[in-house]
Symmetry: C2
Subunit: 116 residues, 2 copies
Amino acid sequence: MKILHYASVAPTYVDNDQARGIAARVVIGKDDGASHFCMRMFEIAPGGYSPKHAHAWDHEIFIHSGEGEAYDRGAWHPVYPGTVLFIAPGEEHQIRNTGGGKLVFACLIPSGVPEL
Amino acid sequence: MKILHYASVAPTYVDNDQARGIAARVVIGKDDGASHFCMRMFEIAPGGYSPKHAHAWDHEIFIHSGEGEAYDRGAWHPVYPGTVLFIAPGEEHQIRNTGGGKLVFACLIPSGVPEL
């Protein structure tokens, strides 16, 4: 069994034209022998956002803390602690922080695609 | 995209000789077209616990709120908000609530095994 606090993993920071204010961590992945799916943790700073994009694999997301919005088919939907999102393959999506603190969520993907 | 708060799903309650005080919900599963893995949410009441057991599939767990302990190879380890657990296939495990409020966590499993 592997037990850790997600924040103990060194983050990868993302700040570019498509995404702002992101700290990303692979917390369970292929290096742990996880052969089916991968857990990543994301922290988005106030005002930050993930890229608006689509890809061939699905996302399963759990919002841990903070306040934000998720983009789906032309509209923004509020997300907050306890919100669950399933993004099917090919669905365009984006998440942005609309609150004053970090927006923190787990985002899981199938094995075999880039972990970050 | 599917967006919901986990608590909007009707829970399945578990209270027997092996497990106490559990409310379990499948929040993303095969009925959503999730073909790789399944997200379940568990709430364990104060004093409650999951069964001590082992099985052929892995778990990826994220602790959302509350305080508890996880059993691994004869010892109990504290878990709290932000703790991540990877339980490999075949590893005996159990989670118990040691706090005064609900212990709430996401537990993900590969597709093809019982969702609850």
